[in-house]
Point group: C2
Chain length 209, copies 2
DNA sequence: CACCAATGTCACCGCGCGGTGACTATCGAG
DNA sequence: CTCGATAGTCACCGCGCGGTGACATTGGTG
């Protein structure tokens, strides 16, 4: 079998994978602006008709891309980061910092987030499913597995607000290099992280375990 | 003079204004996705060549639109809202709530915010100038005119984070009806507002003046 | 009046897009 | 070897886009 030759594979599975990979590369490189059947086919060095044959069009390709790619951080990753984050601050604050870092480290995720803000087409809706529940899962497991106790505070509203702020700043950091007068260099990110820790310490009480 | 007739005005000023108004309507209605010389000209019932003649292309038209329209809330509006917000919470928290309401009430502003997240073209950069300084102006005037004292807290980082969260949630509320498990109905907005007030009360101390 | 600059209209160009039908190449089954 | 299904190519369509040149219309000035 001529594994490494250029051009067609005569292997549907490989072609499908090539198209999905091309989609991922395009989104990572250019975002969603220039995403289309022509662009994907060019990137994959395959004919665009295959997108229609194998995926029933761009929608299906995006759907397959969404299933194949873990562009979203997992709850485990967040908890791991929070646990490594020392013990001088409240666990929930450390979770938010871990979330900030996880999102920042995922260019693909940032593009998806930006896409979700920009328009509401069928393409975007496909990618939203799994992750709206991440917040709930995080708080639920924080309570059951890590013994976090919340009382007297609308924790969903506060964490939602913080997650929203994290999304906004990280997404915009793709283009701009400052927000609200704070440069988005390593020092600026540290300041935002400290702000997150401080807010939850003051809200929920620092817990020097 | 046939003031109210359909069609050409034979009046450059009026035509320019018509094009700018058409731009505003289009952005408010469809966002920036379908914005282009053809669409604007159609909306204005004028020929697109005038966009090139009078504004040197779409860039210039957007620039003129940015100058002509006050799509951004003013510091005065925020202070007014904060002062009307009672005295049971810290002034900075009330300012953030006023900011949330001001942004929410401006569909045009939400579209611009969404646009800024989505891509970084010359068109977007034009609209960014005046407002990056709003945060600084607000905090500066809060300190000098309202006697707000901040110490021991990175207030820029905290307010930046909150403003970012406000931007994200309001922008997404154009399409979705919930975030982090909180419905974006009147009750949901109240919860976010309460969260803002609570955070700044805990951070800066409630000041029942 | 004649003239001219400015205003606005119209027809057209090249391009890349999404989408499709007809064709060829490959490979395994009988 | 033959045949048929599958994988992949190619040429083409209509459309809307950004952009431009040639023309028609208007209104003020001498």
């Amino acid at each position: 079998m001529a594994e490494s030759r250029r051009g067609p594979f005569h292997d549907r599975e490989r072609s499908e994978k090539a198209l999905i990979d091309a989609t991922r590369r395009l989104i990572a490189r250019n975002g969603f602006k220039k995403l289309g059947v022509n662009a994907v086919a060019r990137e994959a060095c395959l004919d665009k008709v295959l997108i229609y044959r194998y995926f029933d069009g761009l929608d299906g390709l995006i759907r397959a891309f969404g299933k194949s790619t873990d562009f979203w951080p997992t709850a485990d990753e967040i908890f791991r980061g929070a646990l490594e984050g020392g013990d001088r601050h409240h666990f929930v604050g450390r979770m938010m910092v871990a979330y900030l870092r996880a999102v920042r480290a995922r260019p693909l995720t940032l593009e998806i987030l930006a896409w979700e803000m920009a328009d509401r087409t069928s393409l975007v809706e496909i990618l939203e499913g799994a992750r709206e529940s991440l917040g709930q899962e995080l708080m639920g497991r924080a309570i059951t597995e890590h013994g976090i106790v919340i009382e007297g505070t609308d924790i969903a509203a506060v964490t939602g607000l913080m997650a929203a702020g994290i999304h906004y700043i990280t997404v915009r950091s793709r283009f701009i290099d400052g927000f609200n007068g704070i440069a988005l260099d390593e020092d600026g990110w540290r300041r935002y992280e400290s702000a997150l820790l401080l807010i939850f310490d003051r809200l929920l009480g620092a817990e020097p375990e």
